[in-house]
Symmetry: C2
Subunit: 260 residues, 2 copies
């Protein structure tokens, strides 16, 4: 792959593993915009959040290359992959980072756990315009093609005008027919949490172990300005996500409380 | 350990491993406030962010119990540990979650990578008043005793008045003598990023591998309202951290851009 002057260079990654349909779909869509460097683990690394690999070495392998893309596998987390690509593998600073298309939604506080959004935030921290895309379906035969038009629209807007520093986008797409999607809705992350129901089991030696399981609890199902509402009502949700986790509105009150 | 009516129940964890001095120091300090349930991995799990263990079972072991505390080890991430404790191990909903004292600061965007702050955010998502404490030193012989008075002060304030929903505290303590610390400063997370300098090495088989290394780049060293400024100037920094990563101020402009 030769990156010509004028070519857009796009860094692509996700956390569902190299052979995930969502990643393949996003690769094909991105090739309409420029040259793509894809980096992914072979197996899925979902729920890795912005974890770093600090105790073990990271290994990378160039797996495939043609005129439009270069594909690497890496044994690290999604965040490691972005760091390694930006610092060691890319010919130059990329014009965009895209992560996805994730198999399953990343709404509300899932942004805190998601490897997809962690990779997106990592791109954002490097000053790269970054977007994470997710499809609201865990079904093995999910149809990712419905995402195509919306990804193109959002990428085109990003090309027109960059995002402010420290902000990236979290895009969730309903898993319904193209005609059923009502449009794009800019929204905030909904207030919610996961209700855990660990499964407590015995291994063949009789020892106890736990499996993490649970379901999402939307604390404000009636609010129509949230990402969960948008998805539930067949809109594509777009949340601007910031790397600044300070609760700015609470700063003055906290000062007062600690001064007392 | 019997939890009497009127006892405060404190959940304690961190990511430096069970035998870390910071964890021991925080356990002792917390025993001044109530009954403590400690859960930690045996080995350190630094930089795990809010990662979840979804592919492998989680195992827990009750290691020690006396009148004041109960100590569990767990093979999961800091976030798993909090989830498991809240859902499976605790007698009732805890009154506080504290994480730390971390060996090394968690300022600026380190909040995104830190296992200490991930555990704190996890507590916050369960509606538990939650604080992460870190000491600004990586030295193996760091003196954590300097933290004692400040932890007590902050815990006392928390007991007086709870935090708003969705907000927890990120407390960083300078690693200097007690007399040199000028006080507590409420601040925002500074704008910064990590500059990575991967070390590229060859293993004994001649194959390339990478080690993650890097240094923090403060993008606004002159701003005196940030956590990094506070630490650099011998103040204890207290940042209110929110689980809401929406860039609220950018919502309207993003709507306008996508409507065009």
């Amino acid at each position: 792959m030769v990156i010509e002057k004028g070519d857009k260079l796009i860094l692509l990654t996700n956390d569902d593993g190299l052979y995930a349909t969502g990643l393949k779909t996003l690769l094909e869509t991105m090739e309409e915009f420029g040259k793509v460097v894809l980096i992914s683990t072979l197996e899925s690394r979902s729920g890795m959040s912005q974890a770093l690999t600090v105790k073990t070495p990271i290994r990378v392998k160039l797996l495939d290359e043609d005129e439009k893309h270069r594909i690497y596998t890496c044994n690290g987390t999604p965040t490691d992959s972005v760091k390694l690509a930006v610092n060691q593998l890319l010919d130059r600073h990329p014009d965009f980072l895209v992560a996805g298309i994730n198999h399953g939604a990343n709404t509300s506080v899932s942004v805190l756990y998601s490897g997809t959004m962690a990779a997106t935030l990592e791109g954002c921290l490097y000053g790269i315009p970054s977007v994470g895309f997710s499809l609201n379906s865990f079904a093995p035969d999910s149809d990712f093609s419905v995402c195509h038009d919306f990804i193109k629209l959002i990428m085109n807007r990003l090309m027109d005008e960059p995002l402010p520093p420290g902000i990236c986008l979290n895009v969730n797409i309903p898993a319904v027919g193209r005609d059923e999607i009502k449009g794009i809705k800019v929204c905030r992350q909904s207030r919610g949490n996961w209700k855990e129901e660990f499964e407590k089991r015995k291994d063949p030696m009789g020892k106890t172990y736990y499996w993490l399981a649970g379901y999402f609890n939307n604390q404000e199902p009636e609010s129509d300005d949230t990402d969960n509402w948008a998805l539930d009502n067949n809109y594509v949700s777009v949340v601007p996500v910031t790397v600044d986790m300070t609760a700015h509105w609470f700063l003055d009150e906290l000062k007062e409380r600690l001064d007392r």
